[in-house]
């Protein structure tokens, strides 16, 4: 069956709220919640003038590579955290990232081929604390991911 485009942005808003719940849980975590080594993360910052000048493919690529980096980073954090309450938040966050990829796929945004290593990606930086990582995660979803979904071509004709 042809995939229905998922245009309701509340899907993403839901993931944003859960990402924030994970960030809050991490902030109050006292034991077994540290990151074992520093990880590469995407730039979250949005200057609207700059963003609007990029073409759709570049915007999509920036979002997809960021989502991939966050998947790797959260996966690593998942293995270094021992706190069980956090496990459930992190499992959920990782599943949500996969779901966001599925949403992008439903909007006919070109499939992303991940690089062999994060070092190949431009515009990344490193964080060494779990709290910073989860903050980047929230800010990335609220910012670039939401902007990309909002402008998705597949949803433009959708005036029902």
């Amino acid at each position: 069956s042809p995939l229905r485009p998922i245009c309701d942005l509340r899907v993403l808003d839901h993931f944003i709220k859960e990402a924030r719940d994970a960030e809050v849980a991490m902030k109050s975590c006292r034991e077994g919640c540290s990151l074992s080594e520093s990880v590469s993360v995407p730039q979250t910052t949005v200057d609207f003038d700059v963003w609007e000048k990029k073409n759709g493919l570049d915007q999509a690529h920036e979002v997809q590579s960021g989502l991939w980096l966050l998947q790797q980073a959260l996966g690593l954090l998942r293995t270094s955290v021992t706190n069980t309450a956090l496990h459930s938040h992190l499992d959920n966050s990782i599943r949500n990232l996969l779901s966001i990829n599925a949403v992008l796929h439903s909007l006919h945004i070109q499939e992303y081929t991940p690089p062999a290593s994060a070092a190949e990606l431009e515009g990344t930086w490193r964080v060494s604390s779990a709290t910073d990582l989860l903050q980047v995660h929230v800010n990335f979803l609220r910012g670039k991911v939401r902007l990309l979904l909002m402008d998705a071509q597949a949803c433009q004709q959708d005036v029902s």
């Binding site: 998922i6 309701d8 899907v11 839901h14 709220k17 859960e18 996969l98 599925a102 949403v103 439903s106």
Partner: protein, 213 residues
Amino acid sequence: SIDQAARNHGKKVSILLREEPENPKCFAQSRKDFTCFWEEDEELSGSLDQYSFTYSYQNENSSRCPLKMLPAAGGKRLFFCHLNRIQMFVQTDIEVHREGRLIHNRSLLIELVFILDPPANVTVSRTAQPLQLNLSWVPPALKYMDDSMIYEVIYTTAGSNVGQVEVVAASSELILRGLQPGQMYKIRVRVKLDGIRYNGYWSAWSDPVFMET
């Protein structure tokens, strides 16, 4: 309570047996709780170890889900698989084999097969106006999903078989207007996800509440 949860679960199974022609029948109850099952005649069914239930999410290897068997009414048996790790917005492919032979297969999106618990604490009270009743209820507790729920309210008078139905979206209260005087009304509510982000089946009806106009 656990009793209540078991009763709700049983009702959901009945709803699917009635509503869903495909097999296995599957439903999500929350974002972490997905169940599939199918029914067989006791006489024709085999032992549990003859069956295998496998599922795979897009681009993932397939996994096996352990099965449980339960006797059911009318000489039937139900075979259940229950998943805690679920992935939404991604196609899920399901296969059931019996002794190596494929007996059921189905592809679905988990976010489209929700059955919620019925609305709780349905409460009715009189309003300042004579032929109106104020109705409210508590939506099933699903974090961040209550803005996607729609409700159906059915109300009937004691003698009558035909009920009047109202549909309510994204609100958990309703004023029933234009009622008949001096009647005992019986009111029930059910809930479903609205089909925009999430979809599924209508829940069971809530326990009824009664009020005289």
